[in-house]
Amino acid sequence: MGIGEHFEGVKQHWARNFAFLDYFKKVYGRDQPLPKWSDADVEEFIASDPVYGPQLKALRESRKFALGGALAGAAHLGGVAFKYSKSPHGVVLATGFGALTGAVLGSEVAEHWYELYKMDKQGANLRFIYWWEDKVSGVLL
């Protein structure tokens, strides 16, 4: 029937729109989960790959910016709420939202500091996943 073809087209349309989720399937959608990697493994990959290693290193450095920004934002907005309001739930909510906004601001600062807009961030992560896959399967074999 024509209506079945129509719904197949609708499903294909939304599959194309949500194709970015395939990136997450590489790690989370596996039949058997990959063994968990440690920071030492990541450092080993960064040393081995001349192209994607520095990119991954810059990505990991940007985490510190995001965490620092989150702490600063949480302290600032939570402090303002604590000073002007005596409601405990208000202080908690303000601290949480300040952490969120501060994290976004910190990651934006890192984006421009390390020029992360020039790199393929998902690609750098995937390169590590592929390297880790090969390494793990090589050890098992």
Binding site: F20, V27, L59, R60, R63, A66, K86, L100, V104, S107
Partner: protein
Amino acid sequence: VLMILVLLCAGMDKYHSSTRFAPLRDAPFALRGAFGTSNSSFNNMDGLRHSSSIGQARSYTSSPLGALRQKMPPSGNRSLHTSRPLSTPVANRPLSPHLPLKKPQLSATFSISHRIFGAALGAAIISIPLATRFGVMFEV
């Protein structure tokens, strides 16, 4: 004199909105002389300067109804909001029940569930770009 005026003003609820512009409406005829003497600006400024040195400063000292405004509020000179540190409890006494008593009506139930749903929906919607932005950083 001031206490009598306070009682008269309290009794005249109908004219409460316009008493500040018609001070002679509710005062008995016999007290008009007293109004005249206490309404002089010299007496008013003395009285108001004294009361402002005690507690709250009044901004409407120059109105012709200064004699009426000199009365002390029932709460005295205490400030309206007392500051209290967050660590001490707000009240060490039992509060009167409000939530267990009021019958949940459709309007109130609708309103609070609308607010809860809106907050949850906002959180869910904003979690998508947040997960995308920070998932790349924190995955590997």
